[in-house]
Amino acid sequence: MATPVLDKADAAGQPEPGFADSPYITVTFRVRRFNPEVSAEATWEDFQLEIDPKERVLDGLHKIKWDLDGTLTFRRSCAHGICGSDAMRINGRNRLACKTLIKDINPEKPITVEPIKGLTVLKDLVVDMEPFFQAYRDVMPFLVTKETNEPTRERLQSVEDRARFDDTTKCILCAACTSSCPVFWNDGQYFGPAAIVNAHRFIFDSRDEAGEQRLEILNDRDGVWRCRTTFNCTDACPRGIEVTKAIQEVKRALITRRY
């Protein structure tokens, strides 16, 4: 009765009969490491993982941090594509690690994971988001009304008026779009797609009354006119926002509201 157990032990290496369809595969994670306290140079480091291809890149990073190397540093909060903390460059494209399945990015080759570009790397995959949020604050991303009294009832809006800016309400400020923009890579003074998307959200809101002011801000030398319509931002957006279209709509509003 004991022999089957021994046979199984002998067959180590091959998949066991009962587990022939084991979901686990071996994946190499090639992570861009940087620690300014050790070296001024960033280097690639490879990690081998046994992982279910239906898991996400974030699960792989968790496995590395929890089981292999606790010094790996990255941001993540909700881990479900809402908080916008874990935007990173995976296989050369900006994505959310928590929304990218291993099976969708060719696990046969090493999966490269880098910090997003155009922002200063602080450690490993963590970048300084301050310039990004500075541009966001500059477009006044809040409702502005002229009436000084507290409203006594809800600010009502028609379904059509709400639908006008629906696409740009989806932004989670992950910086995947702004850090995929070649203009932003080279000149961080450019407002960047995310700030323009969040300005668009209020410019086209019928309840808001500071649209003209926001348009004036984006008419700046580093505003919408620096957009080269490369569509990197639309490709990068994990929320599927048509970012380039929003930028073009702001350009059109600037022209049609003036002439």
Binding site: T71, L119, Q134, N219, I255, R258
Partner: protein, 160 residues
Amino acid sequence: MSTTETPASGVGPVEGAPVYTVDNPAPLIEAPRKRTKKTPKSTRGNFEMAAWLFMRLSGIVLVVLVLGHLLIQLFLDGGVSKIGFAFVAGRWASPFWQVWDLVMLWLAMLHGSNGLRTIINDYAERPASRMWLKALLYTATVFTILLGTLVIFTFDPNIR
């Protein structure tokens, strides 16, 4: 991996001893894109919008002007072999071709210069190199436009 004690600095098992400690902290990394007092002030005015619109409108006009120019010069009526002093002199005897060439010169030069200006703004990283490249560009543009305009208006078909 086993959970042996990691160094107190939290740097982890990396090659070599940690260079920096609590008493000798790593230098602060200055964000290169931080908005400081040196950051250019935001601009008021519609220059960028005018430049953007000019590119589109001049582009449309240039398609007609340049393709028409190439067609006349290189294909119609004997092709490129007909071009000579007499051919140019004959064309510039008519104000229509003078205006055509003048408009083409101005639009093409301004369109191209504005395109190069945006490329310099996008690709030159240091303010000094940006300034010098643009100075060179503007000098060349003004020189070419003025010289071309001078030639069109002072052309003398009887020059010997």
